[in-house]
Symmetry: C2
Subunit: 420 residues, 2 copies
């Protein structure tokens, strides 16, 4: 019998207890042993959770319990969780976590500490979708060319609703908050940080690359307007917040931002709160993984799968996929300035003669070649210019945006969305 202790018995923790109880028949048959939750750590002991396990508010009672084989860390946060997990590893427990923030910062330290001990984290990326499993094991024969993922259900829900129902950003954010899809302070989701944590974890498995959130380009969906959605639809695009990892020779781009992506791509067809991750391998071509990226049961499904893995085998794949460093072909992080992309810009201008000529001059001066341009009337005496470019370099685009902003007939900071 495998005994589990859970640090942080909230929504996901409660689901873990319930799944291990509800599905004990298949779980025991698949794992070859029974798996039971012995105890859990909560902050508030007075709240009735209706669970048949020992509850304590003292982490040490779980991580020091010699009867416990697997510590499941679901408390969230970074530094406190790191201390808990360290203690568990030191006490020779197997560890399972769903904590993406912890891993975004400390995954290499944790791999080092874990050594040959089991340390699993399937639930940390895209909830119930077994993407860690796929990338670390299923695609291990491939050089990974790119990863492109809808890794945040809140953003995808909002973009889908804006597209299908023409709702404004503010209205749909409020609705998402009312439905519990978005937090009262939504910035972690809509600002792209949540997706960035997940992207960093996947990038380590795919490329063996170490980067922290502050090292990479992270933008959100806050500036996407109904005008942009309309432009996207008109030109056959969907707008999605994507986490992107892309190999280019010995460099890897890592970035999170809103994207215009062709409606023909499988990933563009993923709507609502669902998550989906496209992985292109040099041998397998494109593969895609789709499912619920959040929710107690879906996330707990991944946590429990990891516990079953641990019950089945002493040693599995190395935590971050690499048993030893890549020799010779080590990859480094590409500077954000050097990213290549097609771009879409929305520039609000005063509606007077000569404006278009001056704008296009700024494009030309910065080596940016226009692919399509659309002018739409905006508020009184102003117009929105919706412009897509051919492939350009990030640095040039950023410089051009600064120049545009300085023009007296440009009414606000131009909005830019990258085209995939």
């Amino acid at each position: 019998m495998i005994k589990v202790g859970i640090v942080g018995v909230g929504t996901v923790g409660t689901s873990v207890v319930q799944i291990l109880r509800d599905n004990a028949d298949v779980i025991s048959a698949r794992a070859g042993v029974d798996i039971v939750v012995k105890s859990g750590v909560v902050r508030n002991l007075n709240k009735d959770r209706g669970l048949d396990i020992i509850l304590t508010d003292d982490v040490d009672e779980v991580v020091n319990d010699s009867e416990i084989d697997v510590v499941v860390e679901l408390m969230g946060g970074v530094d406190e969780a790191f201390e808990v997990v360290k203690k568990a590893l030191k006490n020779k427990k197997a560890v399972v976590t769903a904590n993406k923030a912890l891993l975004a910062y400390y995954r290499y330290e944790l791999q080092e500490m874990a050594g040959t001990q089991a340390f699993e984290y399937e639930a940390s990326v895209a909830g119930g979708i077994p993407i860690i499993n796929a990338l670390r094991d299923g695609l291990s024969a491939n050089h990974i060319e790119s990863i492109m993922g809808i890794m945040n259900g809140t953003c995808n829900y909002m973009m889908t609703k804006m597209t299908n129902e023409g709702v404004s950003y503010d209205a749909i954010l409020k609705e998402a908050q009312d439905l519990g899809y978005a937090e009262a302070d939504p910035s972690f989701d809509v600002g792209g940080y949540d997706a960035a944590h997940k992207l960093l974890i996947l990038a380590s498995i795919a490329y063996g690359i170490d980067a922290k959130p502050e090292d990479i380009l992270i933008e959100g969906i806050e500036n996407v307007s109904s005008d942009d959605i309309e432009f996207a639809k008109e030109f056959g695009y969907a707008i999605k917040l994507l986490g992107i990892a892309k190999k280019d020779a010995n460099e890897v781009e890592l970035r999170v931002h809103a994207c215009l992506i062709s409606q023909d791509e499988m990933i563009a067809k993923i709507d609502g709160v669902m998550n989906g991750i496209s992985v292109v391998g040099d041998k397998v071509g494109e593969t895609l993984y789709y499912g619920a990226g959040a929710g107690g049961d879906a996330t707990a499904s991944a946590v429990v799968a990891n516990i079953i893995d641990i019950a089945r085998s002493g040693k599995s794949a190395p935590m971050l996929g690499f048993d030893k460093p890549l020799e010779g072909s080590k990859l480094t992080l590409k500077s954000t300035d050097n990213i290549n992309s097609k771009y879409y810009l929305r520039v609000n201008v005063s509606d007077r003669a000569g404006v278009l000529a001056k704008i296009t001059k700024v494009f030309e001066d910065n080596n940016i070649s226009v692919e399509t341009m659309l002018q739409r009337p905006s508020f009184e005496n102003s117009a929105n210019l919706l412009i897509s470019t051919h492939i350009a370099i990030e640095k040039d685009i950023q410089n051009m945006i600064k120049e545009l902003e300085l023009l007296d007939f440009v009414n606000s900071k131009p909005v830019m969305i990258r085209i995939v």
Copy 2:
């Protein structure tokens, strides 16, 4: 160092050798050891394959080679392959196979023989998509409610072309043959047998159920016509050949046939030669896996991933996912007669008075309730009735079709397609 012997060095075998050479850097880093192919078995030693491995036409030279750790079986066929794999297991080799026919018939015998030895077969279902991995490990916490898969790229290519370009069945079959997507004798693909082999493998992992191809409902796409495609488009459906496994209380339905499926479903959006498998778990909800289901490199990607798994760990998940039988809740195969579905029928009738009344009377007599009906002129003096039903029982539909066939104004055997 892990040494590999390949029995059957055709397209996939050649790709395995090439991947292990081309991607040696990542493979060695991920596996922790070098993996090299020592030798391979071919039928014709005179053909130059441009490979830097020892070739022989004697299987025993590979399976009895004490230096070889992993035998990769890529020869195809059932009984001869079974003998080869048995010998390899007896010689304590780890075995990797891509042979779905072998597994459709002998998977339980092989599991028994393998015992604690590694026996892996990721490439046997859906080529490069790590679906075995996902189902056996990633979703192990779930009771699987259903599996619905596009598991045959040839059929999906043909259905997509018929839908998007209005091409006839015969014309597109010829094109698929010219492109190498379909064999000269296409019946294994278009008849649904290839998909059935794959479905049976997945059903074992999901449900622990043993069934052979002859135990289950297998139909192909041969009867799908342009009329059916038009009907489907008009009512918001796509037509796909699907392998379906569905749990209903203690029974499991297993069936392969053409389906009408709502265009809104993710699986309906998978076009061309691509494969995709939707798996619904009771806790995780729907997940979907998409990618190339065939081709040398994609299939070899899965074979090599299995070799890496073997190099990484002595013991992994039990071969068919269950370490011991399900207690109490053992599932049995549902009789085909008892399948519930909505149905679509195309009935070619002579165009004369009273026909519609007589047809609908036959529906009524068999407890079949019509949902939509469309009449289209066909050849001179005949019309096609395109009818969809509410949920009915397979046995009733089959009886009704027999009755319809006997009517003198019904010109040919009615065509039936199930609606998902």
